[in-house]
Symmetry: C2
Subunit: 228 residues, 2 copies
């Protein structure tokens, strides 16, 4: 049975890419190694900071991401995926650079939310993702209400994301409960973990009385669906 | 500070490669994404079964592994590592095919055992690794005594390895305690988890009253040392 080779535009951050690969493996129906998907992974943490690029007009990662995509295609990838929500601001630039399909983490997540009839969703994401309204636009099109943290709470999201990137799991998880309480207080009936560091920050999700949507997991499921 | 790009000859199994990448990240002194190592990963689970190739004269994975190494060099890797112990039977073939250093999981593990003055070590590994005496030869050179499971217990090791590859964690971990007791009964003072599935099988190592050597972790440390 011929399966597609999956190219991963990775490294943003490196641990999020590992989490994504693990989720692809977990979602693959396989009894032996040989039934698993072939993945070509460019785990390149040197991609310029996406959030800085958007908020502070830092070096744009667009051309580097497009170049990584081109290389992955050349190396033999049949489909591409990029486990970083904020980097999807550069999605069109990447998609235009290659001749193979690029799965979109935001589109895939919205599909699932629509299917499950979510009315009002809380969004935890990088300030770059919020500012560029990546999720906002698509959620509004889908008639799903969206709530985001206040500025003070968004600062805690930022701290959690960067703490995870620095390997400080304790500090990364410090605000988890208050962030959820804050969004529930704003009538969120579910929460999107809309930065690929956040599913790692919110590792033990049974502790909270709310449904989570994990875009990393959703993108992994889409990869498996498209590859087979 | 220029760092080397790490090429990973992976997919044997895919979860072992993810475990290896996670251990490289964990061992890297980094506060932000950009300080992490650039990894190019060919996670190719379609490499023919290494154990079958050795025990039953199945299709040899040597040429495919060498080709993966050549490609990774071409893609920009400065050093290579292969998170699969059994595949090290084909190490010379791989090393000869490229012009960049290839780290050797067995050599790195022996270095650590020598440094820590281990006298008698138990070896849990695939039957392919045992039959080809990959660890035996190097342990004997280092004057370290080696004990391996009886044939009946080795069958349990094989079952655990293949259960992990099939995603059945419960069955993979079923024999953990008896395997350790068996090796301790043969005077092992420490245990090498000499198949890259086994550090995942023996995930919670504090439960056992013995020291473990995890070649995946040791290889990851070597990668970080060589890359910086």
């Amino acid at each position: 049975m011929p399966k597609k080779t999956v190219g991963i535009i990775g490294g943003m951050g490196p641990e999020a890419t590992v989490d994504f690969m693990a989720k692809i493996i977990k979602n693959t129906p396989a009894q032996i190694d040989q039934q698993h998907l072939h993945m070509l992974v460019d785990n390149n943490p040197q991609v310029p900071d996406r959030i800085e690029a958007i908020l502070k007009a830092g070096q744009t990662p667009g051309p580097i991401l497009a170049q990584m995509a081109v290389q992955l295609e050349k190396w033999g990838a049949d489909i591409l995926a990029m486990p970083c929500n904020t980097a999807h601001y550069f999605f069109t630039e990447i998609e235009k650079a290659v001749g193979i399909p690029v799965l979109n983490i935001i589109d895939e997540t919205i599909k699932v939310l629509k299917r499950e009839n979510v009315n009002c969703v809380g969004l935890l994401a990088s300030t770059g993702t919020l500012k560029t309204r990546l999720y906002h636009k698509r959620l509004e099109e889908a008639n799903i209400n969206i709530v985001i943290p206040s500025e003070a709470y968004q600062e805690k999201v930022t701290q959690s994301i960067y703490a995870l990137k620095s390997g400080d799991y304790f500090r990364a998880r410090m605000f988890n409960q208050e962030l959820i309480d804050h969004l529930v207080g704003k009538n969120a009936e579910a929460v999107i973990l809309g930065c690929t560091e956040l599913p790692i920050v919110f590792k033990d999700r049974d502790e909270y009385r709310i449904a989570f949507y994990d875009p990393t997991e959703i993108l992994a499921e889409a990869v498996v669906r498209e590859a087979f």
